[in-house]
Symmetry: C2
Subunit: 412 residues, 2 copies
Amino acid sequence: MPILVMKFGGTSVANIDRIRRAAKRVGVEVAKGYDVIVIVSAMAGRTNELVGWVDEISPLYDAREYDAVVSSGENVTAGLMALTLQEMDVPARSWQGWQVPVQTTSAHSAARIEDIPPENILSKFQEGMRVAVIAGFQGISPEGRITTLGRGGSDTTAVAFAAAFDAERCDIYTDVDGVYTTDPRITDKARKLDKIAFEEMLELASLGAKVLQTRSVELAMRYNVKLRVLSSFEEQSDDAGTLVCAEEEIMESNVVNGIAYSREEAKMTLVSVADRPGIAAAIFGPLSEAGVNVDMIIQNISEEGRTDMTFSCPTNQVARAEKAMQDAKTRGEINFHDLLADTNVAKISAVGIGMRSQSGVAAKMFKTLSDEGINIKVISTSEIKISVLVDRKYMELAVQSLHDAFGLEHAA
Amino acid sequence: MPILVMKFGGTSVANIDRIRRAAKRVGVEVAKGYDVIVIVSAMAGRTNELVGWVDEISPLYDAREYDAVVSSGENVTAGLMALTLQEMDVPARSWQGWQVPVQTTSAHSAARIEDIPPENILSKFQEGMRVAVIAGFQGISPEGRITTLGRGGSDTTAVAFAAAFDAERCDIYTDVDGVYTTDPRITDKARKLDKIAFEEMLELASLGAKVLQTRSVELAMRYNVKLRVLSSFEEQSDDAGTLVCAEEEIMESNVVNGIAYSREEAKMTLVSVADRPGIAAAIFGPLSEAGVNVDMIIQNISEEGRTDMTFSCPTNQVARAEKAMQDAKTRGEINFHDLLADTNVAKISAVGIGMRSQSGVAAKMFKTLSDEGINIKVISTSEIKISVLVDRKYMELAVQSLHDAFGLEHAA
């Protein structure tokens, strides 16, 4: 029988009633003839409670014990989901990560899945079991200890199972009904997309759209797993939600398919850096070593052998970036007058695979913002994305005006 | 280094502060030179919450999924305890049942421990680890699924580890400071015992004194594991609490060492049973098959070929007993006029190994109750125990008067 993977996030299994509702959705797919692999998160709030206890005990915790503690929430949901399915006369059983086994690296709290041998579960399907319920977010290290994949890791678990079992599709049930052209809280013109390409979803996910975890989209793209994002709170038809798929499967598409934003980026400026060959490496080498994720970089025109260097990084890495730069200065590797951190900015991005074949997108974006009197502080581009840093107070206005300018309200 | 087992119950690890206090107690023993195996229960209330969810989903649940769900509480405490010890610079790590592995039977929700291979943990002790924290109450079946030992099973886990590791002692930390001659809520003359013999503790435990789980005492007796019951809420000296040990290690002992009571026993009377050879088997066979735990039995004098048969069983098995008897009557295996159930009774028991060598204990017990005007409904005795069934309204008075009569207020 064809295999379908269905993943239910924390709000979709927050209590027994919601677990029942999710189980009914699973029952519908079983009735269609699918053998189903269900991936569950912890009940909403549980993981935060567990993380809170660990933090209370030890700010510098042993990640192996952290993983042993926080993985327990998913185990509870997996058992409860299996019981609920059995109560509906659907043959089901639960698996914890180590039982499958979901083999991961030893990088506790941020482990990567290395292999998922399908034999155990396939043999149960052959015996007549119809649903395998898997505790998401967790695995087992080569040393036999419990690992977790990092927050949001259940999406990654789901895609990895879909790849390992060659599933027909991987349905991600969540509290929104799909992927939108932008955040509906910012403009009511936001439109749900029927389909979106992996590359676009990847840009949107990493730009702060919190529908899917970035790694799960990467994995889906690599193994060409069809991902569907849909709501567990609405009655669903076969074409509900948004399908994340290969570019080739999308016939018509706007040039720009999404406007993303992030408040969690800061603008850092090294003032009056002594300019010389290799200065960029001298700056960004130490930042990289300190674990600072630099996104955008601008170097101003050099005057009299000195220049200003501007870059952006996540706001919660500002302190780390400052320390790395001061240390490099102390070691004599770089020389600058001042280091300014501006956290009062927002990053606005336009994303679309159509940009590859159509010119003028950047020009249109800059003109739109200029017409609204919004000053652009930093720009960065990739093949299918243009991002700008603007004053935070203009964030909503920028998103709304770009959404209008690129006609996202209407499908292509 | 000598090994000590320390077990902390749910109230002793109910929150992070209490886990810290328990960890400090562990630290004291480590400082004395012990390698310590700590067995933890779930944080108070957690297991009930999990059981509640399972019951809400399915009254006739799959015990394998039940076990997977309810075992998660202990996993959380084990990780948190290991983190707390590490934070105190005590080298520690946690083990879940399947990691040790604690090998059990496949009798889910009531599994028995079959083996605990000590190699994994011993090799870590040799590498310098000082504390192994074990999630109590759980194990792994031959099929690789999670099992639990039944409620209170963490005591059993603790004793099994003490036996497997040849521990010097097994300390059970709980919310009372030891074993008392009777329930201090019934008489303030109740006295804490310094020592009690395995056999006596076994009788008291099975008679309703809830300090230790019966199976854990059985196991301690079989492997001669010294058990100490003590409070996790008081500063402890080396001879605190009550030591449960072999009879030979107790020099002086009262004839009666404990007065136990239970409200959970019912008196059942089959009125006017047709008496014939084999009638007892015809009655108690079906009761046994129906899973009714019959404790006391009385057969009245037979008159004109008919007799009354009285027995006691747990109150929550009364309905089951009634059905078994009516079914046997329908099948023509027995004949009786009526079946009376009296749940308004209490069982009072006097326990002491001294009874073996001293006569007159039963007579003194009956006279004491008689002097108080308390009518005895049923009597049963064993080598070291006399139990009587009385009207429930006399329960407290019976306990108090027997405690006085046998001089339990004062040590031998």
